[in-house]
């Protein structure tokens, strides 16, 4: 800023002319209003509020005035500069807001376009169902036991009280592994895992044994020669059939909601007493029985669904596995995972489960089981 200059004639300087100063304010305000972009506003600012703008030049002349005139002129120019700056600020806010609005409008996208982080993977429904069952029992304090699929005949049959000529051993049901006489089979159930558990651990035993099993069975919509089972085994002091019933009911409720189980006496070599486990239909709760108007697809209007087998562990099995039947008793149960998936999730054809079609694998999404 210049210093006082005594050579000026105070009468001739702009700051003393109120009209001229007011005109500057008017001109600046008009120029700001005309600007519609930040670039235009910048040009207007330089022209009307910059260092070389009329108001800045007028300001510079004030120093030359005598003290009384200087005071008046200073106040006048100061007010004018304030008005110009206020107009600039106000317009700046308007222009920025308008520009942001335009930008945002221009950046609009179609949010319904398909998007994906990558391809869609899936856990097979059988795996998912086995994990679900495991979790139900792990939550009760049980553990998950595993064993080999190619198994010793002794563990698959002998230890489980299958007499040497039991029909299940014959070639029709069991896949035998060579060479002849090596006493090796593909396990026909996960029960040898139970035997292995008893052979290697002291009671109390509370385990669930999920896994792949093999039968030389037909291959059709409801049978496959390779399938999965989940068996449970408890060996402890004072275990009774009442405990088996309680466990099955809890298991059923955890898996299907409002339902319960019933036991029908049956025969298995490794349990005595033995029973079949039926599940009260969790869809119709039996209402479809004898009620043709309300047929139930899940239980085929029978009210009960055959689910698996169970029983009290035969003391002969305990003895073969090194558990004292005088001290301990136990129970065991087993279900087919494929079958469970069929009635639980309405899967219609068991072949879909083993043929690897990705559409089947993707049937159950996320944590939906």
């Amino acid at each position: 800023m210049s210093g006082p200059n005594k050579n000026y004639d105070p009468v001739q300087v702009t700051p003393l002319n109120a009209d001229e100063v007011e005109a500057m304010v008017q001109a600046a305000t008009a120029a700001f209003a005309e600007a519609t972009s930040t670039a235009e506003l910048k040009a207007a600012r330089l022209a009307h509020a910059g260092e070389r703008s009329p108001i800045a030049l007028a300001n510079r002349e004030i120093g030359a005035l005598p003290p009384q005139a200087r005071k008046d002129a200073g106040a006048r120019v100061g007010r004018a500069r304030g008005a110009i700056n206020a107009a600039l600020k106000a317009r700046e806010a308007e222009v920025v807001a308008a520009e942001l609005e335009r930008t945002l409008r221009e950046e609009r996208v179609d949010v319904t376009l398909p998007v994906a982080l990558g391809p869609v993977g899936a856990v097979h429904p059988i795996t998912g169902l086995m994990h679900l069952v495991e979790d139900v029992f792990v939550a009760m304090g049980w553990e998950v036991a595993e064993g080999p699929e190619l198994e010793a005949e002794w563990l698959n049959f002998d230890a489980l009280n299958f007499v040497p000529d039991h029909p299940a051993r014959t070639l029709q049901d069991t896949l035998f592994v060579g060479p002849e006489g090596s006493n090796r089979v593909l396990r026909t159930h996960t029960s040898p895992v139970q035997a292995r558990t008893m052979l290697t651990r002291e009671p109390p035993i509370y385990v669930i044994c999920p896994g792949k099993v093999y039968r030389a069975d037909e291959y059709d919509a409801t049978h496959t020669p390779v399938f999965h089972q989940i068996e449970g085994l408890v060996v402890d002091r004072g275990i009774t059939l009442a405990h088996l019933r309680g466990t099955l009911d809890h298991f059923a409720k955890a898996m299907f909601g409002d339902t319960r189980t019933r036991m029908r006496p049956n025969y298995f070599p490794f349990t005595e007493p033995s029973a079949e486990v039926d599940l009260l239909c969790f869809v119709c709760h039996g209402d479809s029985v004898g009620n043709p108007d309300r047929p139930c697809k899940t239980c085929r209007s029978e009210g009960w669904i055959e689910w698996g087998g169970c029983g009290v562990v035969n003391p002969r099995v305990l003895a073969a596995c090194g558990v004292d039947p005088e001290e301990y008793s136990g129970f065991a149960f087993g279900m087919g995972v494929e079958r469970t998936l069929m009635f639980r999730n309405n899967a219609e054809d068991m072949r879909d489960m083993v043929e690897g079609d990705v559409r089947f694998s993707r049937s159950l999404v996320g944590t939906a089981r």
Partner: protein, 836 residues
């Protein structure tokens, strides 16, 4: 076993209004598996009546067929005119007439209709048209058998034909052979409904007597043998309708009166009978083991070479029957037979089961013997058959009879009276146990007193038809079944505190979840394989994957072995998907593979009355060979499809490798890679995967060999990964470490290094890490460049290096020094820094 309810009513005094469905429910509760309740006769509806043929006129028609225009009295004022095509009846015969409005099996509706120039006002029916068997050779002519009232024209034919019945089809478990009879099921039905049971086995086996046909027992596999002789049979007598209908409802085909009677008695009592034409027998009938080289032609007209462990019935001519399985053709009852010898014998279950299996021959008789036939039933059954033959075929029973051997006495079992309550978990006191067991025929006596058994001990002996009652727990089951499992109050047992899933189980779940999360789809395949598959994979002769276990009875001849690699199974899944138009695939599977032991080993089968010793258990495991769990992925098509965001990214070796690293990362471990040539991968595009910590090889990933793609019908450039999941999981750290975070600034330096094409990028990165020292935070390859500047056979690799110190800001000099040291370390790989 199919049991007509009307027949069960013969032995069990069931309430008159009890339906088949109700009976079924009662039996199901008692532990019998009723598969269906069939309403026999339900498919015959409307007016079906007895008619008498008053007159007929044979008429030959232009189509060459002769029909009869009949006048039939159906009990109405006027006879009806009916056209009939069958010639097997005479005037005066009683027939079955379906009147207009009737509906026969197969939804065959009867109406008065014009045919052969007449209006036929109904139909004269054959047995097949009524659903009464296969006979369609002519119409049914109703004759009254001995003891039956003559039907009357106009009478409803349904009761005459015994059309209406309910039939329970029951799946009998192997321990309940006695339920393969009306006797056994009737006993269960009476028990289940609280009604009276009348045993059709109405007389005990007497002391041995040898006044009838001579018989000898020369094998332990036969305990008792009854022979009765009936002479003077009229071979022309047909089986009465009640007999054929019962057999038919029970699922057996009527054959001839003598055979039908034997089958009827078997169904009724559970005792298989055999009838010999007495005139075809020569000398003493002997039950003995077959001799080496003996042969027998059985009733099914098959010549069978006998084994010394087969039990046969023989006479002077040699074997005349496979005992309890099937008779011989030579002594078969024929349409000329007038005298028969009835055999009712008890044979050993196991011996017969083996014979049946050896000869692949199963019969109604062998099914029963294999599951145990009541040895005390034979004598009564033979007499029942003889009485029926006398009644129905006009024969006479010879007074001299033969009984050889004695009924074995079932063993007594010591039963702690409190055991049922302790095992069932519901109150059952001693008195109840005694009562329930006695009700099913068990002989219950007080046992010796024992201090450890507060409720006392019982001595229990099962009835002769219950060989399944052997151990104390067998009796517990019987008590439980009679008490009803439904009455036991459920109790959830309290397990000791658990440790959750094992580390390995959690890790395997994590790998599965991770692969699915990043885009791979889990599938399950059959775990079988073959040498041919390994050949197509190009697996070399000395590769471990050649150690195949082979099945003795494979499901498929093309895959007779167990898999040693998951890849071929996934290849099949790929082709199945591509054939269904699903082309963009990243399939994965985790599962066991099976390596045969180096030498074939036998898994021992020690006795089962005690725990095997450790050596035997170890030998079992050794014989099974290694069965490691593997992880495999196969990729084809596009990893990312072309879309509005950009072009497609085809699936390639890169995703195969990346998925291996995802799997490793999922369990907190890391993999190093080396180029390697390994079947079935492309020799220049295969990475050997090693655990970063231990350098152990865990698997391979890359693009498949083009010849493998061609051999398995896979799309070109299919890529794959296979690694040993168990090894990966075992290498996972138990516990992760959390390093301190430095808040001082990072210094970034980029370096470009020119190396030979053959130098692996990972080796250069390793050298940079080694050279840079502890200040290096990370090194990352961000560009690979080939061009005139790099020179022939060379490539430029550009790495971003980040340096940071823990407690201070690095100086420019420190950073430069570390960077130069990193670059210097790559010199041993022939790397030259690009400076332009």
């Amino acid at each position: 076993m199919k049991a007509p309810v009307s027949w069960l009513r013969d032995v069990a005094a069931l309430p008159a209004d009890l339906t088949g469905r109700q009976l079924s429910d009662a039996l199901v509760r008692a532990g019998l598996e009723v598969e269906t309740v069939e309403e026999a006769g339900a498919d015959v509806q409307g007016p079906v009546v007895v008619g008498r043929v008053l007159d007929f006129t044979p008429e030959e028609h232009s189509n060459g067929k002769t029909i009869r225009w009949c006048s039939v009295d159906v009990g109405e004022e006027q006879p009806r005119g009916i056209v009939c095509g069958a010639p097997n009846f005479a005037v005066g015969d009683l027939v079955v007439v379906a009147l207009p409005g009737a509906r026969l099996p197969g939804d065959f509706e009867i109406a008065a209709r014009r045919t052969y120039g007449h209006v036929s006002d109904g139909m004269i029916c054959s047995a097949r048209e009524l659903g009464l068997g296969d006979d369609h050779s002519g119409i049914m002519v109703l004759t009254a058998a001995a003891g039956e009232a003559e039907p009357v024209p106009g009478q409803d034919a349904r009761p005459v034909l015994r059309l209406d019945d309910e039939v329970l089809d029951i799946a009998v478990t192997p321990d309940r052979g006695y339920c393969l009879s009306i006797r056994g099921l009737g006993r269960e039905a009476a028990q289940a409904t609280g009604t009276r049971f009348t045993d059709p086995v109405d007389r005990p086996v007497p002391a041995p007597v040898a006044e009838g046909y001579p018989v000898a027992i020369e094998s332990d596999a036969c305990s008792v043998f009854t022979a009765l002789t009936v002479t003077g049979l009229d071979p022309s007598r047909p089986s009465p309708r009640w007999l054929t209908r019962r057999l038919q409802l029970a699922g057996m085909r009527p054959i001839s009166l003598v055979v039908d009677v034997a089958n009827h008695v078997m169904l009724e009592t559970g005792q298989p009978l055999h009838t010999y034409d007495a005139s075809a027998l020569a000398g003493t009938v002997v039950a003995r083991q077959a001799r080496r080289g003996e042969k027998l032609r059985t009733l099914d007209d098959t010549a069978r070479a006998l084994d010394e462990s087969d039990l046969v019935i023989a006479d002077d001519s040699g074997p005349i029957g496979l005992a309890g399985v099937m008779g011989g053709a030579a002594s078969e009852v024929t349409s000329a037979t007038t005298s028969v010898v009835i055999e009712a014998a008890a044979f050993d279950a196991l011996t017969l089961a083996r014979t049946s299996r050896r000869h692949k021959l199963s019969s109604e008789a062998s099914r029963r013997y294999e599951r145990g036939v009541d040895p005390a039933a034979g004598y009564a059954a033979a007499h029942r058959a003889a009485a029926l033959l006398v009644e129905l075929a006009g024969g006479s029973l010879e007074t001299g009879e033969t009984v050889v051997g004695t009924v074995p006495v079932p063993p007594v079992t010591r039963l702690d009276a409190s055991l049922p309550e302790r095992i069932l978990g519901t109150p059952v006191d001693r008195a109840q146990v005694e009562e329930l067991l006695a009700a099913v025929g068990v002989e219950v006596r007080p046992g010796p007193e024992e201090p450890g058994a507060p409720d006392g001990v019982l001595s229990v002996r099962p009835p002769t038809w219950r060989p399944d009652l052997r151990d104390p727990y067998d009796y517990v089951e019987e008590v439980g079944r009679l008490v009803g499992f439904e009455t036991i109050t459920p109790v959830v047992p309290l397990a000791p505190p658990g440790r959750g899933l094992t580390r390995s189980q959690r890790d395997r779940r994590a790998v599965t979840a991770r692969l699915a999360a990043v885009g791979a789809v889990e599938v399950l395949t059959f775990p079988f394989g073959s040498v041919a598959e390994l050949d197509r994979l190009g697996v070399p002769a000395d590769d471990r994957r050649r150690s195949l276990n082979t099945l003795l009875n494979p499901l498929s001849d093309t895959q007779p072995s167990l898999r040693t690699t998951l890849l071929p199974g996934l290849f099949s899944a790929v082709t199945r998907n591509t054939s269904r138009g699903l082309d963009d695939l990243a399939l994965f599977e985790t599962g066991a593979v099976f390596f045969a032991p180096d030498e074939p080993l036998v898994a021992p089968r020690p006795p089962v009355d005690r725990r095997p010793d450790e050596a035997d258990l170890a030998r079992m495991d050794d014989a099974l060979g290694d069965q490691p769990r593997m992880l495999a992925v196969v990729l084809t098509g596009d990893w990312v499809r072309a879309g509005w965001q950009g072009p497609a990214r085809p699936a390639s070796w890169t995703q195969a490798v990346a998925l291996a690293e995802e799997a490793a990362a999922a369990v907190g471990t890391a993999l190093d890679r080396r180029p390697v040539e390994h079947a079935p991968w492309h020799p220049g595009r295969c990475a050997e995967l090693r655990l970063a910590q231990t350098d152990v090889v865990v698997g391979h990933a890359g693009e498949l060999h083009p010849q493998v793609c061609a051999a398995f019908g896979l799309p070109p450039r299919t890529s794959a990964l296979e690694l040993e999941l168990d090894v990966l999981v075992a290498a996972a750290p138990d516990r992760g470490d959390i390093a301190p975070l430095s808040s001082y600034p990072v210094a970034k330096e980029d370096v470009a290094l020119v190396v030979d094409e053959s130098v692996a990028a990972e080796d250069v990165a390793d050298a940079l890490r080694r050279g840079a020292g502890p200040l290096l935070e990370s090194v990352e390859l961000f560009d690979v460049f080939r061009g005139a500047q790099t020179g022939e056979g060379k490539k430029s690799l550009a790495y971003a290096l980040r340096f940071r110190a823990e407690g201070r800001t690095l100086t420019a000099a420190e950073v430069n020094e570390a960077r130069d040291a990193a670059v210097a370390a790559t010199a041993e790989l022939g790397a030259v820094q690009r400076t332009e």
